[in-house]
């Protein structure tokens, strides 16, 4: 990976009357629970180290209370860190002056909120224009850009509606439009789709992926939904009790969960939508017949193709087009259900 867009180094956040003193205790290994009981301090984040690549979607996943919303608020410094650095293109956000920070928030990082946080007294168009108004652009420029974004996020015809009259999904489109309109490089999304119905959520994920394919923003996406994390994340960091327990691309997390906490998440998911066929293939043999599939193809798609073709074997090809391995129907099916199988066996044995 080239230089990361966002690098978080040794980040601590402790809430309480005397964070500076408390941080020493935490560094000496006093546990979160002890800090709360004996010292009246809440450890929000503990020694977070994360590199987030530019032009990709970094998901930060965790259950409520894991510190993920606290973490994302350090990137645009809505929350002051107790210790540590948050480097954006090498510049430490925590060291910025008031003016620099304001400028950074206006032009470099915009944000989408869980409960939309739209201005109820302003129309859809005026809400999308909010960031541009704050930047102080003249109204001609604002109108042109707003019109473009409203069209792009599928809100054409709703310009003069008020947010209160729209459904949740539509409101979050406005929130997304407001964030994109500033042309900021970094997009911070704090559980942006968590308040939406499952179908609408899926829809909005598609909207985001489409936009990302075209815009190549650096997106930090917070969620508590592992399926969502797998679907949109180029890279995932899993947070628990204010600490990163695992980070990596979706497939590596599914294949090698770091601990029980992560295993619990992985258990329920559809592995066929995460694992790529190249991961499970066997060495190529000359005499194997069968359709050619791309190594990056997901197991689910391979299974569909093999079923349609009614074949027992498929040949996996690499980027160059050469055959690099083979898989059988049994391999594919086995990898899709393996973990569930293990669980069943374990439960049956008890």
């Amino acid at each position: 990976m080239a230089d990361p867009k966002i690098r978080i180094e040794g980040l601590y956040k402790i809430f309480g009357p005397n964070p500076a003193a408390a941080i020493e205790l935490v560094r000496q290994g006093v546990s979160k629970q002890e800090m709360l009981d004996a010292n009246d301090h809440v450890v929000g984040l503990k020694d977070i180290n994360l590199d987030m690549a530019g032009q990709s979607i970094q998901v930060v996943m965790g259950l409520s209370g894991s510190g993920k919303s606290t973490l994302i608020r350090h990137i645009n410094r809505l929350i002051e860190p107790t210790a540590g650095r948050v480097l954006i293109d090498g510049q430490d956000v925590a060291q910025m002056s008031k003016d620099e920070l304001r400028d950074f928030r206006r032009h470099q990082a915009s944000m989408v909120f869980q409960r939309f946080a739209l201005l109820p007294h302003r129309t859809v168009a005026q809400n999308v224009a909010f960031g541009l108004n704050i930047q102080g652009l003249d109204s001609g420029e604002v109108d042109a850009r707003v019109a473009r974004w409203i069209e792009r996020i599928g809100l054409g015809g709703y310009e003069n509606h008020y947010p209160g009259h729209l459904s949740g999904g539509m409101q979050q489109r406005v929130g997304l439009g407001r964030a994109l309109a500033t042309d900021a490089d970094i997009l911070l999304m704090d559980e942006a789709f968590s308040a939406l119905d499952p179908l609408i959520r899926y829809d909005m994920q598609s909207v985001l992926l489409d936009l990302q394919a075209e815009l190549n923003k650096s997106i930090v996406f917070i969620t508590h939904d592992f399926d969502e994390a797998l679907r949109i994340g180029d890279s995932i960091a899993i947070l628990r009790d204010g600490e990163v327990v695992q980070q990596g691309d979706p497939q590596s997390i599914v294949l090698n969960p770091a601990d029980d906490y992560v295993t619990d998440f992985v258990k329920g998911i559809n592995r066929g939508k995460v694992i790529k066929v190249a991961t499970i293939m066997r060495p190529a043999t000359d005499d194997t017949e069968g359709p050619k599939v791309d190594g990056d193809m997901l197991l689910e798609d391979v299974a569909r193709l093999m079923t349609r073709e009614d074949t027992g074997w498929a040949r996996v090809v690499g980027a160059s087009g050469a055959v690099i391995g083979v898989v059988s129907t049994a391999d594919v099916m086995g990898s899709m259900v393996r973990l569930a199988n293990d669980d069943d066996t374990a439960e049956a044995a008890q």
């Binding site: 809505l78 304001r102 928030r105 909120f113 946080a117 739209l118 302003r122 129309t123 704050i134």
Partner: protein
Amino acid sequence: MPSWLTEFPQLDRTTLVELRRGLDQAYRGFSREFGAEIEAFFDPLLFFLVWFERLLINAPWWVVIIAVCALVWSLTRSWKLIVGVAIAFLLIGFFGMWEDTMSTLAIITVCTLVSIVLGVPIGILMARSNRVQMFFMPILDVMQTMPAFVYLIPVVMLLGIGKVPGVLAVVIYAIPPVIRLTNLGIRLVDREVLEAADAFGASAWQRLVRVQVPLAMPTIMAGVNQTIMMALAMVVIAAMIGVKGLGQPVLQSITNQYFTQGLLNGLAIVALAIVFDRVSQAYGKRMQQHRGSAIHG
């Protein structure tokens, strides 16, 4: 038994008298010294009030009614209200209270404007800092509970009898609601929306004028409405220090036991109050159209 147990150990008479006399004289000295300057300070206000009152009185009655109805239309877009307002003003004129009503209308308008101009910024300051709030709260409590006659005394000592002390007394009496509700309204603004404003790099000023004040507007308007009502209630008391208007005939009726005159003028005040109340509420509601039926989330 020692005497301080049977009788309250109060200051003795002479000390008390001297204390009072000393304070009074100090204040009198102060008003003699600075009264002229303070009066001069209020000259623009007096000028505006006199100009506005003359304008209302000298304009033909039908022009005033049309102007008021046009204002009501621009604020509320409600035909019902306009008809009601027109009938109220016609009845007032019909019973011979036109001029007094115009004087009262002028002073209420000026007092409300002064209250808003002073009260909204004070409310905003209170919302921004708990310390400022702690400072103003007891003052507001005193202003609202102190009998109005008591603070008429220093106002009259300082500025004599007339319109300006009248405005001052009415404003002191009527300003607390607009301050309190501005403070409350701004404190109640959704924290997430404020966070969004911060996240987009809004300065403190942008946050205030683009987010806090607009979102607090319904509450602020409720405060303005209360302020107008209290100003109207104060009109009769202000008449005691020479404010012209509907209050004077009421005072006259009390001293001479003219029941009907008192009732008619009282009803005119009530009519004005209803007009102000309905118009400001309808305006507030019209501003809140965006809070439609759909539920957030």
